[in-house]
């Protein structure tokens, strides 16, 4: 069974590039441009990993994190943000995220983090 990844970022290119790279590695990827449709989708489908932007208009990354925590405690959340300062990092870590990536994102590191989140023993394909 393929592992499913949800990517939420209001920058379309982030989702597109993450999808392209992750699909090459055999992941199943769904992308969203804002929090609202992503939360709606989460009501119907469990994802193995949710990668979300922190600062978004409307429902932001912290709210996505809280919802995922309450619906699927085992799902890992990776936070990305353009604000690379310490405050947001501390805030994100306090919220118990799996990992935290400041932009610009190293796709290779992101994928490594996703693999760790799913479990080192699980093959990506």
């Amino acid at each position: 069974m393929k592992h499913s990844i949800m990517v939420i970022d209001d920058e379309k290119i982030v989702g597109d590039m993450a999808r392209l790279s992750l699909e090459q590695d055999g992941f199943e990827v769904e992308t969203f441009l804002s929090g609202e449709p992503a939360l709606a989708r989460l009501q119907h489908k469990r994802f193995d990993v949710v990668v979300t932007d922190l600062k978004m208009r409307g429902i932001d990354g912290m709210e996505v994190l809280r919802t995922v925590r309450s619906l699927y405690p085992e799902t890992k959340v990776i936070m990305i943000t353009a604000f690379a300062n310490l405050d947001t990092a501390i805030e994100a870590l306090r919220g118990d995220v799996h990992d935290f990536f400041p932009k610009p994102i190293k796709i290779r590191e992101l994928k490594a983090s996703i693999r760790r989140a799913i479990g080192a023993d699980v093959a990506a394909t």
Binding site: L20, A82, K103
Partner: protein, 466 residues
């Protein structure tokens, strides 16, 4: 001199004048009383003299010796009356007149004596008796007449003096209170003007010499308050500048990070997956890189506009015409977003402005309004002249989602945006800079759920405030 002291002094002067007038009136009253007392005594004496003359007449007609004795008795009673009222009489008519009167009485008495001694046979003596009697009565009557006239004079002059004193006091009171209230009112008006200009953010001072009184203390206090506010405002502006520098830096970082990240991710995939990408995909990637680079260029350009506002090229032009032009530029966007537009443009006095910059502001406001509204919304632009005729007002109103009150103070801050992606947060701050450069003002009024109105004020040419 303190106003309080001035009031006390003027009251003291008034009181002194009133006392003086009182003393004068009292003195006149005493004089009148003295004269009246004399007139009373003189009336008694006159009555006695009249009786003597009747007796005298009886003697001459009937030669009755007893009447002469009666007359002597009457004379001695009169002497007693004069003696007992001597003080009052002297005070009223003076020592000379009294001794003349006594002399007359003496002469009359002596003549009666002579007539008695002659046994009534001497005709010349009888004539002398009649003459002296007449003289005595006339003298006494003339004294009374003169004193009555004097009483009238005193009363009339008292009346006159009291009348003039009243007017002098009245005018003095009016002049003093007018002078003092005028002094206070003038200062109050200066203070009122100053506080009004402080409310408008202009920290002037009350010029001219400051008097050493209560109003002067207030003026000094207000002046020092104005100075203090001015220096506080300068500090505030300085700290605001520092704060916006911080916001600017954070904003630039955030704004630039997103397109940089996009380029970086495209590049990483391009390198990693080059062999797996078809020609179309590679071209699409490079197109995206180009777009993101343009986005960075746009941000940098806006930033430069913000940090170094170009000098406005002010020219007298028609604001309404510029509004029509802005609407024309945005017509397509409005049409696509299904937004109605309404114009209500009053004829306006001449305004000097940089057409290109104001156009930029208007396009920016129309764009914001369009983005804030759902399809079917209405954009209305209205122009009017302020009541005082000094400013032209432009209202750009939308029926959009509105701005929450807590955001209103920040909407003109650089990089403040509620739009998420697609808003640099520079449009309104650049607009703010442009309008300020024109000596105008821009502000927003908003009700969440009902819409927002941006109000631009520009000074009418020739009526700019310095």
């Amino acid at each position: 001199m303190k106003i309080e002291r001035k009031i006390i002094l003027s009251n003291a002067v008034n009181l002194g004048l009133i006392l003086l007038i009182g003393v004068f009136a009292l003195q006149n009253l005493n004089r009148v009383l003295t004269k009246l007392r004399f007139v009373e005594i003189a009336d008694d004496l006159n009555a006695s003299f009249l009786e003597m003359r009747l007796s005298e007449k009886n003697y001459i007609l009937f030669h009755d010796e007893a009447t002469l004795t009666d007359m002597q008795a009457q004379i001695s009673r009169t002497r007693q009356t004069i003696d007992s009222a001597r003080q009052d009489i002297v005070r009223a008519v003076g020592e000379d007149n009294l001794s003349m009167l006594i002399g007359q009485i003496e002469k009359y008495s002596n003549t009666i004596h002579d007539v008695q001694a002659s046994g009534g046979q001497d005709v010349a003596l009888k004539l002398r008796l009649r003459m002296h009697g007449k003289e005595l009565k006339e003298f006494s009557e003339s004294l009374v007449r003169i004193e009555r006239a004097r009483v009238n004079d005193i009363i009339a002059s008292s009346k006159r003096v009291l009348f003039y004193s009243f007017w002098v006091l009245f005018l003095l009171a009016i002049l003093v209170s007018h002078f003092i209230s005028q002094r206070i009112l003038l200062s109050l008006r200066a203070i009122e003007r100053l506080t009004r200009s402080i409310a408008e953010g202009k920290f002037h001072r009350i010029e001219g010499p400051v008097d050493d009184d209560e109003v002067g203390s207030v003026t000094t206090a207000i002046n020092s308050m104005s100075d203090e506010l001015k220096s506080r405002e300068e500090e505030l502006i300085q700290s605001k500048k520092l704060a916006s520098l911080g916001i600017l830096t954070a904003g630039v970082a955030h704004e630039l990070t997103n397109p940089l990240n996009n380029i970086s991710m495209i590049a990483q995939n391009y390198l990693e997956l080059y062999d797996n990408l078809d020609r179309e995909k590679r071209l699409e990637f490079m197109q995206q890189v180009d777009d993101e680079t343009k986005r960075i260029g746009e941000i940098v350009r806006n930033l430069l506009d913000f940090s170094r506002p170009k000098d406005a090229d002010l020219q007298s032009a028609d604001i309404n015409e510029t509004i029509r032009k802005a609407l024309q530029i945005m017509q397509n966007s409005l049409h696509l977003a299904n937004i109605d537009s309404k114009l209500s443009l009053d004829p306006l006095p001449p305004v000097r402005f940089d057409v290109h910059q104001i156009l930029q502001v208007l396009v920016n406001l129309i764009l914001n309004a369009t983005q804030a509204m759902q399809p079917g919304g209405t954009l209305s632009i209205t122009t009017t002249v302020a009541k005082d005729g000094k400013t032209v007002r432009i209202y750009v109103r939308d029926t959009g989602s509105g701005i929450p009150p807590e955001f209103i103070p920040h909407i003109f801050d650089p990089f403040f945006s509620t739009k998420g992606v697609g808003g640099t947060g520079l449009g309104l701050s650049v607009s703010y800079g442009i309008i300020k450069n024109h000596g105008g003002a821009i502000r927003a009024e908003s009700t969440v759920g009902r819409g927002t109105t941006f109000i631009i004020e520009l000074p009418v040419y020739g009526k700019e405030e310095t």
